[in-house]
């Protein structure tokens, strides 16, 4: 399995013709900023709630939490016989359970993520590394998948801060090309035996048929854990091309169209785009998913903290 992953990664690395220079993408300064963000998030979390990721349910670890009266149906093995001997009343011991999260990062690697706006790739990769760093630093398990015309596991599940470098190297090797089929890719997404955790879907939602994006995202409604949909958007996408004769070429599929764009059609474009974004957000809300729009024009730190504050599984916000 590991060899297959390695060979697949090597193949994509060799054929990554559309890969942008990564010198300033995941450099040491960015990783330092991630550490600072991690400290900032932990500080904020402590200000709001003590303890790290306590689950409300009683577990079976050796960390004693409390006593409570015995009631019918409780496990009699948890009865504190010492207290019974002293108080002549049945109490059971309650232990604290520390839950281990499984963070799944699903990154769209279709061509529309790098063309015509390379900033989308940059922010998507930084977001991937940021989420991975956060998960590994919190001692969570991390799974990294890429979405193209299918769902490809890029790395085996990772745990521990020592795997951050491997994640960074893997992100650098990813090639953004080809036609994306979000619906097909999410249909093939298998979380494995442990279905608990958080899933982050990082995509622009565009491609040959953006109208299917909402239907594709609805496939994640069955995911039991917290689901974040991060729509990477460049502000220029919301605006149509200037008025005049254009030869448009779709980066996915290479379809070409020659049009004469007028002001009326520009307005139609804006309306259409706005309707599409609204439709995507409605689909997420209807499926109990957290939808965030990640603009490449906004600083990374601001959006990263804001995005994590909207969920409570990873950053423990609220």
């Amino acid at each position: 399995m590991a060899s297959n992953l390695s060979s697949a990664a090597t193949e994509r690395t060799d054929s990554s013709s559309s890969r942008a220079p990564d010198d300033d993408l995941l450099d040491a300064a960015f990783l330092d900023r991630l550490r600072a963000l991690f400290v900032q998030l932990r500080r904020r979390r402590r200000q709001r709630k003590q303890g790290a990721q306590q689950a409300p349910a009683a577990g079976h670890t050796r960390e004693f939490k409390d006593h409570r009266h015995y009631s019918r149906g409780d496990d009699w093995r948890a009865i504190d016989w010492r207290l019974y001997a002293r108080l002549d009343k049945l109490f059971i011991r309650v232990f604290e359970e520390i839950q281990e999260l499984h963070v799944h990062v699903l990154l769209d690697r279709s061509a529309s993520m790098i063309e015509p706006y390379p900033a989308k790739r940059r922010d998507a990769l930084r977001l991937t590394v940021g989420l991975g760093f956060l998960a590994l630093a919190n001692n969570h398990r991390l799974s990294f998948h890429t979405l193209g015309d299918g769902c490809q596991r890029e790395l085996p599940p990772l745990k521990g801060q020592g795997h951050v470098q491997a994640l960074v190297e893997r992100c650098r090797a990813i090639s953004f090309a080809g036609n994306g089929d979000l619906d097909q890719a999410l249909a093939r997404f298998r979380a494995g035996a442990d279905r608990r955790g958080v899933a982050f879907v990082i995509t622009d939602g565009l491609g040959s048929d953006p109208a299917r994006t909402s239907d594709a995202l609805r496939r994640l409604a069955a995911w039991p854990g917290e689901t974040h949909v991060v729509r990477i958007a460049d502000p220029a996408e919301a605006e149509p091309a200037p008025v005049g004769e254009l030869l448009l070429e779709a980066v996915e599929g290479g379809e070409r169209r020659r049009i004469w764009l007028t002001a009326t059609e520009q307005q139609l474009y804006r309306d259409r785009y706005r309707a599409w974004t609204d439709d995507v957000e409605r689909a997420c809300v209807a499926s109990s998913m957290i939808c965030s729009t990640w603009s490449t024009a906004v600083p990374f730190d601001t959006q990263f903290v804001e995005m994590l504050s909207r969920g409570d599984a990873l950053a423990g916000g609220r």
């Binding site: 015509p116 048929d209 149509p240 030869l247 448009l248 059609e265």
Partner: protein, 636 residues
Amino acid sequence: MLRFLDPMGWWWAVALAAAIVLYLIRPRPRRLRVATLAFYLAPLGAVSDTPWLQRLKRLLSFVLTAMLLLATAAALAKPVLAPVVDGLKTAVILVDRSASMGAVDGGRTRLAQAIDKARIQLDALPPGAAVAVIAYDRRTDIVVPRTTDRRAALRALEALTPRPIASEDSRRSAALALAARLAAIEAPGAVWECTDRAAPDDIPSGVAYVRLAVGEASNGVNAGSNVRVNVGIAACDARPLPMDTVHQELYLAVVASGACTATADISVDGQAIALRTIAFTADHLEERVVLPIEPGPTGGVVTVQVTTPGDVLACDDRADLVLPPPRPLKVALIGPAPDAFLQLALAGFSADQIVVQAVKPEAWKPDLPADVLLFAGWLPPVWPLGRPVVMCDSPQSLAPLSVTLLPEGVGVDSPRTADPGHPVLYGVASPRVTLWQQAVLGADSGLAPLWSSAVGPLLMAGDVHGARAVVMSLAPGKSERLALLASWPLLIGNSLLWAGQPARESAAGRRCRTGDVVAVRGNELRWADGSVASVRGGWAELDRVGRWTTDGGDSGSAAVFSADVSGLKMDLRGAADHATAGNSSSSWLSSSSWLFSSSWLLSSSWLSGDLVPGLVGLAAALLLLEAWLCHRRGIH
């Protein structure tokens, strides 16, 4: 041959070079890579033109634009398709201006269409070639003598108008012969005839003949609901009834060119007296109407007007008859001892109709004051020139009449009737007559037999020396069944009235066909519409329809009266549209014989003539096609 009246117009084809340059340096659209086309295509509708189709459309657009420019330049060069006339030195344009050329086809008269064709022919003439214009109907006029001034010929052509005169083949042959003589003055020459008639059988020799045909659209077409037809008056006359001094009998013949319904409105002095609706079918295109009219004591004017929807020719729709005031016919009965039965028949006539004056042969003189001379058993030494004559029981021959006496006579039962419709036999029951023939009649010319027996004619009628004559050789007294029948006084009365009719109408109410040249008194002839024509040498040509009077006191009326014109029966035989005549060794004829072997080029209206409208239409069609194919949507 294709010629360009304004070859400088081809300079506009330079715009084609500009189009080519613009095509080569055309601004390319800005290339733009986008994440998705959906937001662009959705507002415009889905199209799926592939790149090769885009290239094909661009190339097609350029080709159509180039064709549009070429068509426009060609239209500005004013192309005309005209016959090859290189080497021609004389062209005579022979224009048929008869009544049928006034028929309206497609909003224009046939003459106007013919002039257009002639103009195209003229444009194709080589420089220096002489032109002459001849127009004919019943009269042939040299409108423009032989000249090299094309503009004068064109002006004369455009000034021609159809005249309401029915042409005749003999007149056409004469005009064609005259045109051939003019064309032969400087060989090679050609005669271009603008007509709606078929090519003539007698094509003059020595020149080329080309017929510029018009009127194919309506000639011989059986009328449908929306096909134009023509209805016209082919004949109209009025005459006194034999035994009636008040009424006259109006005879009217109406001819149609196709199935239709026409209305004949008959009025006397403006007061309608009859309205007849006549239904024509494909098998019944002629209708005759006979009805009594009452002109009044002072005469009157009978007006007949026929109307039908879609009538293409107006000049034959009206006829006016000037009825003279009734007066008795003066008859001089000349003979030694007229037959008693003849006197009995004459006595039966009313004094209002016929007044008989007996004259002894000794008192005979050629200028006897009578409308009709009735000779009974006696003949003058010479035929009375210009006097209507009725001869009964002629004793000897008198040129041109020859009489062969039968000493014993011959009984004739039911004489053979050569022309039962002749006015002399009106009301006469020929099959019931049994008579006694006394001589066999004959004539060199003018007289035609009406009754004949086994031995020869016994009743003849016709024109002799410019007057009507009726000759009979029968003895009513010996006849077994004639004298006491009504047929005998009818025969005598008809003969007198028919013979005397021109005399009675000579002073007033002459009924003529248009184109007749009549002898009138006075210096001016005034038409009912107010126009005035001069009388030259006592003769005047009646060149329009209507009533006329002269300052000398004569009056009459004229109408077309032609069944061929009203029925549009100018039979166009396509095979005879053209002909070449004369010596086939004529060099220019042999060099251009292909033209005459493809005469459809001339007779086909869409392949000959001015090509500018067609090119303008082609340019417009190309423009629309290019716009529809390449620019109807923003996406190519």
